[in-house]
Symmetry: C2
Subunit: 636 residues, 2 copies
């Protein structure tokens, strides 16, 4: 920061110096903001180069709401010496549905500034029997990822040497394949074609678009401060952005839903954080964890009744810059704390409120900014939790062996999900609840181009979806909307089948790129379409080479063991990654339960928020019934 | 062929020689065959090593249908000297819906052989007002391809230097995005995870799965002959497979639907061929074109009233091995023949029957097998038809300049579609019709990893979809089911945005792989997710680099010109291909019109056939109405 703070304050006092610079007014809300009725949002207005002796007036559809704003604070904006006045009406609620014209007027040095924003406020009226809400996020789980999970998990039906009569049909599709309604979600960020997980999480948790890296807030004029680390107001600049209430906070605050937030990542990671924290950067994980305990939308009480995931380091006094013990904080508010699968299993349905942290990073090292650790403690991917490690299993050579440290007893996501639902619904199963479940390592393993790590984690998520679907069927008197989607895509492609016992293919291993997935890509080179009008002599050979993978699930746990068969390999899915980054493709969504049919078509990711609200409130029963009947008549 | 034909016949006469080899019986139908009531299928039964003096009996649910079979022919099977008897009941129709147990018994040398097949026969009852059917196929148009089309075609809304307020929303989605119902189609072949276009075409055209390369037939014991070219019965072995009637043939034969078949490929290519020919290999294009004229399911009359596409060479006497003039053949049956866009424009709605061939390959060279030419005459991709060729347009360097030859006046697919619909529906617009429209070059350009060729062709297909949707709205008294899907995926990924005016990025061009798409991949390297828990100092820079593409459509034809802006480049979509082949991913389907809602969920590609039949016959009106109302209430 070139200009000293004292110098700046002197400048601000000396208003005449700004006479040359035109004053500007900015409402810190997206141009296209949409809200639910009573959804809390900070109304923040920045005035640049204003005199400080201005007349300030805000109306909503003509009604004066100026007195809802606190006196302005003075601060430098844009990190370039611009004097700013910041007016705030925190935690504002629009109490009636409809279109609101928000008008801000500021008279500054004789000039009259005016700024407007049209705000769409949508209704929300809970029906007499509240509906439960379970949102599954496969992080990075685009279209090909779901397919890869299906192909690996379900190929067990055809055993090697027993061709069976599948003939290309999938008889037992994934749990998520079986959900009746499917749609496509466009994940574009406010300013970027290819989004990150923080902004996408904010899309469905708030119905609005922040910018990359932000969690349930909108950008402001002090973001430049934390974007250039080192300033002493770093944390303040991260916390001062206009906040917007999330779906889980909203349901908890206004309708007493019990809430849960599960992830296989460190629990302060972007996707879970999008439902319970409000910070300008996902990088501030200590602050994110704090807001889980002291949630600003819930007036300082915890955001979630059940929290399960990794990342204990963000809660520990020996790690956190503020040396607070957040686990003790949760315990003082009546939470049980658990740290492994055994303790998870022992929880009863009346456990009430539970914090479960199943992993801490092996070596803690802080970032210089003091906001987070350098590497967080994600739980291990399913492939490793299953112990598919030795020579008997075909361990992909490019995927590193895990180091569990002392965290050897980690639960699977389906166990976490089952227990969370039981606890949230309570002993009688009739407490309304809203739950977000993230399969986080699909994304993280895909970043590293670890094919097995990614695909086995898709299966892990699917087993969790199965738990929710079964529970929902068994508790039909409390309807449950179940959604399964992704935050964004990555670049996996389904290329073909590699026969590991085929010497030709083994020899061709060297053609594999240095992306280095174990699944050899070479098989696919035999399968390129044979061009226009040619009659290829090798066509029958190409067929012999393809066929289907023959993974086996000998122990019946739903996860194939990936073993060599008769010491000879076997047929494996051949996949390839294009990059180690995200992709901007539309992602699938599948829906089941009341109003599931609202989730077909192509739609924006923010619409998940509003369609979820519709599904929880509108009477969709007649439609649901008709469509169930239509579905029953559907071919196959 | 090692064994001589005469030797084989002697062997067949001398039955005692076969005493050691056990007789075998095979019904040449898939184990999981499903049919519509009265859908024609050849019942073919092969008996290996049978005596020739056998008692042969076939029953359907106990009723004897033996007399429907012609006397058996003797032939070598499996190309290994196996003596075969082949029993055929050609063009068989099951006349009642329900489950049929087909039982074949053969007494051979005292041994009694028995083989069974369960056949599911589904109902089809046309309503008083027949519904039209338009099926759009984007060949290779998986999920990312539709997205790429949307991003390029619709980015024109934000002009360079005019940020607008899109904020990441797509206000004017593609025509195909706007269709209300969406689903996912699993494209697996009978014997292969990654299918070709012949088998996938057969999936939706017949409801059943052949094997790779086959068109509306099932494999038989003489396929080995044509798979090893050179035998004199090559064409015979390609034509003798069990045939199954296609949807368009079925609607034409039984319900007098008028039919159309359009493609930007040579018209005897696999996707159009799947609706009107029955051959064991897509490579037999001369035979495919002949069957368009003399269709076996339609007792020798033409399969389609309107045929538009490329590939005139397959119809020309100077090219065809049999020297037949198929164009004259069509003309003698009342067809008009046209060969360019001008002649297409001049057609009136009462044109009746039209053959339009808008391309012949520049240099004809025959394959040695005499079944086809070496390279067929596809129409040019949209990018080339638009003339985006010069330096003013950013011609992707890796995509070759076209050589139109004398075929400079080619129509776009939307013009072909508009005219086909008008002619099929007739002057009064009330003749029921069924039409297949293929955007073929999406696949062919993707095989070559030509990003622009591929993406501009997605836009071309979408404009054709727009024509159908408009026509349908204007002719609502004749309901039209419109489907848009792909036959299979390819490996495109949406990676990000490349700013061509950014010198840093230009310098990084060398990191692009030799796949060599013009859209530089380098931009995406700035956008990889920034890992776990880090606060990256460069985050704002990364945002600046991304944003959205800024293609312009100055002439308003719906296709951006891909021009440099102020001589400085501009922002372009960055994509990448993983291979030049097909992918095994599920592909999107979108549906509009009566029964559109049957097409949500994950389902097998053969279900397109049966769900289409349901949509054309069942009363879905109440459901359609309810869902339209629900859709109207849908968020955004």
């Amino acid at each position: 920061m070139k200009r000293s703070r004292i110098g700046l304050l002197l400048l601000l006092e000396s208003a005449s110096l700004f006479a040359q610079k035109p004053a500007r007014l900015r409402i810190l809300l997206p141009q296209r903001i949409r809200l639910l009725v009573r959804q809390r949002v900070d109304l923040v207005i920045e005035a640049r180069n204003a005199s400080g002796r201005d007349r300030f007036r805000v109306t909503a559809n003509g009604a004066d709401i100026t007195n809802r704003f606190a006196p302005p604070t003075r601060t430098e904006l844009d990190c370039n010496g611009t004097a700013g006045l910041v007016y705030r009406a925190d935690l504002f609620e629009f109490r009636q549905p409809g279109n609101v014209k928000l008008t801000v007027e500021l008279t500054s040095g004789g000039e009259r500034l005016r700024e407007e924003r049209n705000i769409e406020v949508r209704p929300f009226r809970l029906p007499p029997t509240p509906r439960n809400y379970i949102l599954f996020i496969g992080d990075g789980m685009g279209n090909a990822y779901r397919d890869a999970g299906r192909i690996v998990a379900r190929s067990v039906e055809t055993r090697p040497g027993v061709p069976g009569i599948r003939e290309g049909f999938v008889d037992r599709p994934l749990e998520m394949d079986q959900m009746p309604a499917t749609g496509f979600v466009m994940t574009y960020g406010a300013a970027t074609l290819v989004p990150d997980s923080a902004e996408t999480g904010t899309h469905w948790s708030t119905g609005n678009k922040p910018v990359t890296g932000m969690l349930a807030v909108f950008p402001d004029g002090t973001d430049c401060r934390w974007r250039r680390p080192g300033g002493k107001d770093l944390l303040e600049a991260i916390r001062d952005n206009p906040r917007i209430e999330t779906f889980l906070e909203y349901l908890k605050r206004l309708y007493h839903y019990r809430t849960g937030n599960l992830s296989t990542a460190f629990i302060a990671d972007a996707t879970p954080a999008a439902q319970g924290s409000h910070v300008a950067t996902r990088g501030a994980t200590f602050e994110i964890a704090r807001q889980y305990l002291e949630n600003p939308m819930l007036d300082g009480s915890p955001a979630f009744d059940v929290v399960f995931g990794g990342g204990k380091e963000d809660f520990d006094p020996d790690v956190r810059a503020d040396h607070r013990d957040l686990i003790a904080g949760f315990q003082s508010k009546g939470y049980r704390f658990i740290r492994n699968a055994t303790e998870l299993k022992n929880l009863g349905p009346s456990a009430g409120k539970v914090l479960g942290l199943f992993r801490r990073v092996n070596n803690v090292e802080l970032n210089p900014n003091g906001l987070t650790v350098k590497v967080n403690g994600n739980m291990e991917p399913a492939y490793d939790k299953l112990g598919l490690l030795g020579r008997a299993n075909v361990r992909p050579g490019s995927e590193p062996l895990p180091d569990f440290g002392v965290w050897k007893d980690q639960p699977f996501l389906n166990e976490m999900t089952r227990k969370a639902i039981e606890i949230l619904a309570g002993a009688n199963g009739d407490q309304p609840f809203a739950l977000q479940v993230e399969g986080a390592l699909i994304d993280k393993e895909s970043h590293a181009n670890h094919a097995a790590g990614t695909i086995w984690d898709v299966i892990e998520l699917d087993q969790a979806v199965g738990v929710a679907r079964s529970w929902s069927r068994a508790h039909a008197r409390r309807p449950t909307l179940i959604l399964v989607t992704a935050d964004h895509d990555q670049t996996l492609s389904i290329l073909g089948v590699a026969d590991l016992s085929d010497r030709d293919l083994t020899d061709r291993k060297s053609v594999v790129t240095d992306r280095g997935t174990y699944y050899r890509d070479s098989a696919v080179n035999l399968r390129s379409d044979f061009g226009v009008g040619n009659l290829p002599p090798e066509i029958s050979r190409a067929e012999d080479r393809t066929g289907f993978p023959d993974y086996q699930d000998s122990d019946g746990d739903g996860y194939p063991e990936n073993r060599e068969i008769n010491g000879k390999g076997g047929k494996r899915l051949a996949v390839g990654f294009r990059t180690g980054g995200h992709a901007g493709t539309s992602v699938p969504i599948t829906a089941e339960g009341p109003g599931a049919w609202l989730f077909t078509g192509y739609f924006d990711q923010t619409d998940i928020f509003f369609r979820s609200a519709q599904a929880l409130t509108e009477d969709t029963s007649l439609l649901d019934k008709w469509l169930d009947a239509a579905r029953a008549r559907q071919a196959r």
